[in-house]
Symmetry: C2
Subunit: 360 residues, 2 copies
């Protein structure tokens, strides 16, 4: 069974299809091609698993394909890899009506989307996310970009895909750590805006960790639904969309300090979410039981809940580089109970320092 959601963004609206065996569904791809030319961008891990199937689906419809197979990993989400994409597109004379297809996780989606946003000032692209993180978060909403030595996702564009295909079959080959990393973002939607979903997750986390199909399909659908609502209301993150960054300002500092790719993004977000919850608790916005539930569900998803001890000043320094800074003061997404987040730079800085010192 396939479920379909719509991301409503005026003339940039697009559907998300969620289900099984979507890689063989030419009917979900062909209507969006402007010519029978595509370039599939994937990586050395995903290509052996799924590239042949997608290739068969497209070539049987007469589509000609340029393959761009990149090395796997967050550390390759940079200007050099981006240039590899440009080079291949130019060498193959890919034109303005060539569609780029991102087949892979968040790194492939971000790189491909950014290449699509900037190649010849913009060509169409399609997201086929193959990790849970990409299916529930990064493939939806049009954030694209690359990392810079001085910070993550510092260079990028808002650029929406034509369609997203989330094939939950592809999650079967996902390493456990990456499945958990995706669950961090799933949990996030419950925390920031969807208490009933949070409660559902508390009950069903064991099934999700075991990758039980019906549970996973529901979690992906509900997550995409939440994300689509937020993005439709605030495409360029001038308001509510910033709530999706729960745990991310702390998390980016962790990823940056440990070296990109040492902690998975979702792992850093999980530990960052606990820091945000701890700070919210110190501000009196979360009680001890609520804090314990947040910590507990992340643990049940097999995620790290203990942030590394970087030292308070290093944390503040790295967090200050984050895009969510305004007039020099760090804006943070914090919890006011479960199911409600706020974004604020109006807080007691000493309490933030207490949180970052990992004091009990």
């Amino acid at each position: 069974m396939t479920q379909t959601l719509q991301v409503s963004l005026g003339d940039r609206s697009y559907p998300i299809h969620i289900g099984q065996d979507l890689l063989s569904r030419a009917d979900f791809i062909l209507p969006y091609l402007k010519s029978k030319q595509v370039a599939i961008v994937t990586n050395t891990t995903v290509a052996p698993l799924y590239l042949e199937k997608l290739t068969q689906t497209l070539t049987s419809e007469g589509v000609s394909i340029t393959n761009i197979i990149l090395p796997d990993g967050e550390r390759f989400k940079n200007a050099e890899t981006l240039n590899t994409i440009y080079d291949t597109l130019l060498q193959n004379r890919c034109e303005r009506n060539t569609t780029l297809i991102a087949l892979g996780g968040g790194v492939i989606g971000d790189l491909t989307g950014y290449a699509a946003a900037t190649y010849l000032r913009g060509v169409p692209f399609i997201q086929i996310p193959t990790t849970l993180l990409a299916q529930v978060d990064s493939s939806v909403g049009g954030k694209t970009g690359i990392n810079h030595p001085l910070g993550k996702n510092m260079i990028g564009a808002f650029y929406q895909p034509q369609v997203v295909l989330a094939d939950i079959e592809t999650l079967k080959t996902l390493p456990t750590r990456e499945l958990s990393a995706g669950l961090a973002e799933v949990i996030k939607y419950g925390l920031i805006r969807d208490l009933p979903f949070f409660e559902w997750l508390e009950k069903n986390m064991p099934d999700l960790v075991k990758l039980e199909s019906a549970a996973i399909a529901y979690a992906v659908y509900r997550s995409c639904e939440n994300k689509a609502e937020v993005v439709s209301a605030d495409e360029r993150e001038s308001g509510e969309r910033a709530l999706l960054n729960l745990g991310h300002t702390f998390g980016h500092a962790i990823e940056n300090a440990m070296g990109y790719g040492v902690w998975l993004h979702g792992e850093a977000v999980a530990a960052g979410t606990v820091l945000a919850a701890d700070f919210s608790r110190r501000l009196g916005w979360l009680d001890a039981e609520q804090f314990a539930r947040i910590s507990q569900i992340l643990k049940a998803a097999l995620l790290p809940v203990d942030a590394p001890d970087l030292g308070v000043d290093r944390y503040l320094d790295l967090m200050g580089l984050d895009k969510k800074v305004e007039n020099g003061k760090i804006r943070l997404v914090l919890q006011q109970g479960i199911g409600k987040s706020v974004i604020t730079s109006d807080y007691d800085t000493q309490k933030l320092r207490d949180t970052l010192s990992l004091a009990p």
Copy 2:
């Protein structure tokens, strides 16, 4: 006297102010700043001439400025220079509400606009073009980007400025060759859609070459008016906007073959315009007298009218890399008389080869 035009693009609309002494007009800049932080991007040629004046105007209003002074020249319009901008912005912790100001010619405008489009997924920017080419063409319409070793302007984005300030005083320091290069684009507006302007240019070219203020102000205004109309109707170049590329497909081949920067862009466009006119003549769309008028006005603007002999196949090869290719066939902007251009890929290829062989 200052004249103002509006580029109408819905919520991305913006004004163009044209006049003298605009660098001291804080009132044209301050309303567009989201914070009192700006980064001025300029080059080693323009900085000694105009950076101090602009700096005084802004600092007297309490604006804090980061200066980014780049080497001068088309060959620096590349990924490496772009990265210099990113590095400086990040090192100075420029935030999402920092406005980038492009102070310079087309290269500075394209680089700065593209940096603004992609830094933190987009920050505001202001164009202060200091060359005629930039004032009448590249600063208006939101085309931004950089060159790639395999082709000019291959990487980029459509990204509109907040406001454009065209100070015709700054043209007084412009080398004669660059003034002429700008006139190539001025003439283009007459050729593609404005016969009365073309006739005005035929009469007033001697004054324009002498940089007579009233004539220049009128030419800049009328050119921007034409460009604004075209861009408002077709922001992303799906139709009419492509007419603005008259002479450019040929011209880009010339620039690329000769090495970027050897021929100025406007010089290559001038020779390319003659090639387009020659091809139009061979197709029977232009008579001998019209062809002569086109050639004559370009000469009066002190522009080259003889394209270099690259060989037919080299021309076709380089032109095939241009963005204006569709399904493998080269689309060209051609003349149907003076004041009317069309874009077409429906033509006799042998006649194109005759034009490119520079046969009489």
